[in-house]
Amino acid sequence: MRLVVDLNRCQGYAQCAFLAPDVFAMHGEESLLYNPHAEEAQREQVLRAATACPVQAILVEDTDEAPATMGEGLSGVR
């Protein structure tokens, strides 16, 4: 599954690194490094991270079975 983080928005709250540590990792105190192509098995964790992101910076590509709550086929975008 594809994802991208708007790192201009990111303020290093690290919620994603807590919630989906196999995909998101803090590098130092506030730099976020992530895998832009996470394993499909990580989908639930990635969506948790995207939903919890306090600045809504995580954009996840939709699949058909993703919950309808993610809106417009993309989660986390304005």
């Binding site: 690290a14 690194a17 919630l19 540590p21 990792a25 948790r48 709550t69």
Partner: protein, 411 residues
């Protein structure tokens, strides 16, 4: 309605069950002066902006003498020095970094993640503990014991000591309340005594852990040697006290408020029962709709700040009413509706900026698991009292009891 009356009413226990109409009134003036040196901020963008404003201090020592009132005195006399919650950078940053080392990324990214199974078991055990009863008090039987058990395991505090620190924690949490009721002098004395006793209790644990460290956070705080060096004994004490108190006094409200909100919105409860993935956005919406920390009463200005047509002078005390900002229609359309499908939910439930909630990832997980389990396992749950009786505290707001009835337990 005069300004003075409005703030008084918000603090007034009689309005604890539903302060939101008062917040609507409050937002009509985004920055409201109350008396000489107190300013109340209630709109979303203004709160957000002040949470990121370096001219705002969290250190009570920066209050002007008039605004300081009794708050300052209490901290200064305290046997526990202020924890990072009540400090500014660079001290705040250093202590928070050191506290984070054994808790989360970058050093310990999987601590909370790996607790998922354990948390789910604790929740299930508590629900099993309802036994054959058809009525329970969600607070006493569920949403209090759950986070207490978790924070004890995390910190390495014996669960069986709960009876001892419970009352201290309650008294200290009540000390945050702008109007805890009763005689202020008596209140201060009680808080001081509770802090002393909690300090002594933790001090004993620290002695044990320095000799025989375990893999708990207290041991790590005592023994860690990172780039920031070592915490002093007093720093370990105040940090551990903060984590212990904040670790359950807030989460209990989040879970109880969540249960209450679900029972008031049976359609959402039904959806959660059918799709546990809903728990994730649902908890975010809950943090907006019924935040466990309603307001931050402890900020101070280091300079004159012009905001929303008002100048808050240097040395003033600033209250940021997070719960009012969360219902600001300028930010959230139809704000009084509980809507777990709400897009772009950047709520203020965990604050924002450098003092954002330290335990947020744990609180999220606890609330998600707890509410999902209740939805799955309670057959035909319903409220016995609506509204339920609330705790006195206007800051850490939540029901004191939440009596519910149900037809039985599912396995």
């Amino acid at each position: 309605m005069t300004q003075e009356m409005l703030l008084r009413q918000i603090i007034d226990y009689a309005n604890r069950a539903d302060p939101y109409p008062l917040y609507t009134e409050l937002r009509k003036k985004p920055v409201r002066q109350e008396g000489d040196e107190l300013f109340v901020v209630s709109t979303y963008w203004e709160i957000k902006s002040l949470l990121h404003d370096p001219r705002i201090s969290s250190d009570a020592r920066n209050l002007s003498p008039g605004a300081a009132g009794t708050l300052l005195q209490e901290e200064e006399d305290s046997p526990l020095p202020p924890a990072f919650l009540r400090l500014d950078p660079p001290e705040h940053d250093r202590l928070r970094r050191m506290a984070m080392r054994p808790f989360g990324p970058p050093e310990t990214p999987r601590r909370v993640y790996n607790m998922r199974g354990e948390l789910a078991r604790i929740v299930d055990d508590l629900i099993d503990g309802f036994g054959d009863r058809k009525e329970v008090d969600i607070v006493d039987d569920f949403s209090y014991p759950f986070p207490v058990t978790v924070i004890c395991r995390l910190l390495g505090i014996p669960r069986e000591d709960e009876a001892r620190f419970h009352s201290w924690a309650d008294i200290i949490a009540a000390g945050l309340d702008p109007d805890p009721g009763g005689d202020p002098g008596e209140q201060r004395r009680a808080t001081h005594e509770a802090r002393t006793e909690l300090g002594m209790y933790l001090s004993g644990l620290i002695d044990e852990r320095s000799g025989a460290p375990g893999d708990d956070m207290l041991s790590a705080l005592v023994t860690q040697q990172g780039p920031d060096g070592q915490m002093s004994r007093m720093e370990v004490l105040s940090t551990a006290a903060l984590l212990l108190i904040a670790g359950h006094e807030t989460t209990v409200n989040l879970i109880t408020n969540g249960t209450l909100t679900l029972l008031r919105n049976p359609d959402v409860l039904e959806r959660l029962r059918n799709d546990s993935r809903l728990a994730v956005p649902l908890v975010e919406e809950l943090l907006r709709f019924e935040p466990p920390v309603q307001l931050l009463p402890q900020r101070t200005t280091l300079a004159d700040i012009d905001i929303a047509g008002t100048t808050i002078p240097e040395g003033a005390s600033v209250w940021l009413v997070l719960a009012a900002g969360n219902r600001d229609p300028q930010r959230f359309p139809d704000p009084d509706r509980f809507d777990p499908d709400r897009p772009d939910i950047q709520h203020l439930g965990f604050g924002s900026g450098i003092h954002n909630c330290f335990g947020a990832p744990l609180a999220r997980l606890e609330a998600q698991l707890a509410l999902t389990a209740l939805a799955h396992r309670l057959d035909g749950p319903r409220l016995l009292d609506d509204p339920p009786p609330y705790r006195q505290n206007a800051v850490l707001r939540g029901p004191r009891h939440l009596n519910i009835a149900f037809d039985g337990l599912r396995s």
